[in-house]
Amino acid sequence: MSKTYYDPADLRKFGKITEWSEALGSKFFEYYGKVFEEGALTAREKSLIALAVAHTEQCPYCIDAYTKDGLQRGVTKEEMMEAIHVGAAIKSGATLVHGVQMMNKVNKLDG
């Protein structure tokens, strides 16, 4: 067993999850593949969304995968960083908007 929780080499083994649950695993990968196909959004736009979500989810495998995916699609580092800021802004906004709940409570209890 590895002494760390994350091993970069494990990303290559992602497909193996199907071995212990063929039907569900296959359905997931089929769905996953479809999602990233060119649609109303370009595959490039989807890649940037995935990169931003990879950061908000703090998934190291996804960060590796979608940084590389972006590079393959010609995405620049400036575009990648801007996408991450979008994720960060939503994350921090989601935290701060709960401040209204705190303010409501304070006003109710001690207003």
């Binding site: 490039r44 590079l71 010609g74």
Partner: protein, 354 residues
């Protein structure tokens, strides 16, 4: 002015300047341990071994390794210090072959082919023979490198040369990172000059294609999507037009291999190539219809095999010994670098193959 990105492996006295060392690396490690299948075992699974050469369609001539640039990922290890230059005598032997072969494409590469002192003579003589598609792989900056090259766009036009040029990205930062400071601006200027002569314009017979190869340890994306992005950016930012974009995979040899090892990306890159292996791409790999001729006239299955010093498996080893019947049907010489041409939609000097 452009600033050289690095030095050739040969000038650095690197052990990787030796092709045997490169072949050792490609055969050992993860391939020797069986962690990854060798290219031979991979193509054997679909009964595609041995790969056989078909009828010759493309004659690719490397007229010398001298170049005004020293790109980080050059598979030729080209640079200003390289002195291997094709002589007029060898060129004459090639002209004699062109007259007899049914190849429809003549593809001149280097180095910077324009730096060969006999380049113009060769183009003029070869043009007289009447090749259907006469390609010169120009790095663009050479056109602006020195006054003696300023008239190249006119020279190309006069001989109806199909210009194919490298352009790693539509942004300055990514281009200069791979090819040297100042390369982007100079390339843009050269492209504008080619456009001024009619090259790359819609409906123009003066063909101008760009070659995209990734600036780092990753595979190229979808060729059509990349072409769309390149066209949009180049027309909007600089008013530049071109015909097609060829997405080419960097093969793990020479300076790119050196880069992969130094940046600790070698194993991951080989995994990526093997995982992207596409048996459909094997059917049309360029070595099956191409012959590569080195600066000293020797024959190879492709430019990559030339750099690895893997000669053709035929009695005819030199252009002076060329006989179609000795080369057609020959077994192609392979190693693990061949995975570079079979990844995803495949890769060749003409872009994707599957």
């Amino acid at each position: 002015m452009t600033k050289l990105k690095t030095q050739s492996l040969q000038k650095r006295d690197s052990h990787l300047a030796n092709s045997n060392k490169q072949l050792e690396i490609l055969s050992n490690g993860i391939f020797q341990s069986g962690e990854l299948p060798t290219f031979k075992s991979q193509i054997s699974k679909t009964d595609q071994f041995p790969l056989k050469a078909r009828k010759l369609e493309i004659l690719q001539i490397n007229v010398g390794y001298m170049c005004n640039q020293v790109c980080e990922h050059c598979h030729v290890d080209a640079g200003p210090d390289r002195k291997e230059i094709m002589t007029r005598e060898t060129m004459q032997q090639i002209l004699d072959v062109i007259k007899t072969t049914g190849a429809h494409t003549l593809d001149l590469t280097g180095g910077a082919p324009e730096m060969n002192p006999n380049f113009r003579w060769f183009v003029e003589e070869a043009s007289k023979i009447g090749i259907k598609d006469f390609i010169v792989r120009s790095n663009l900056t050479i056109i602006r490198a020195n006054k003696k090259y300023y008239d190249l766009p006119d020279f190309f036009k006069k001989h109806n040369i199909h210009v194919v040029s490298s352009m790693p990205h539509w942004t300055r930062g990514k281009t200069d990172k791979q090819r040297g400071e100042g390369v982007f601006d100079m390339s843009i200027k050269a492209l504008q000059e080619l456009n001024d002569r009619g090259y790359g314009m819609p409906d123009s017979n003066l063909k101008l294609d760009l070659v995209y190869n990734p600036s780092g340890a990753f595979l190229p994306g979808d060729q059509m999507a990349m072409e769309k992005d390149f066209k949009k950016a180049l027309i909007e930012d600089f008013g530049i037009q071109f015909h097609n974009l060829f997405a080419i995979t960097n093969l793990p040899i020479s300076r790119f291999l050196d880069y992969l090892i130094a940046s600790e990306n070698y194993e991951d890159y080989m995994y990526a190539l093997v995982e992207a292996y596409n048996p459909e791409a094997v059917k049309n790999v360029m070595c099956t219809n191409t012959l590569s001729v080195s600066w000293d006239g020797y024959l190879f299955d492709c430019d990559f095999n030339q750099m690895l010093e893997l000669p053709v498996n035929s009695k005819a080893k030199h252009i002076s010994e060329y006989k179609e019947e000795l080369l057609e049907g020959r077994n192609i010489v392979i190693s693990q670098h061949c995975y570079g041409c079979t990844a995803g939609a495949g890769s060749s000097c003409q872009g994707v193959v599957a």
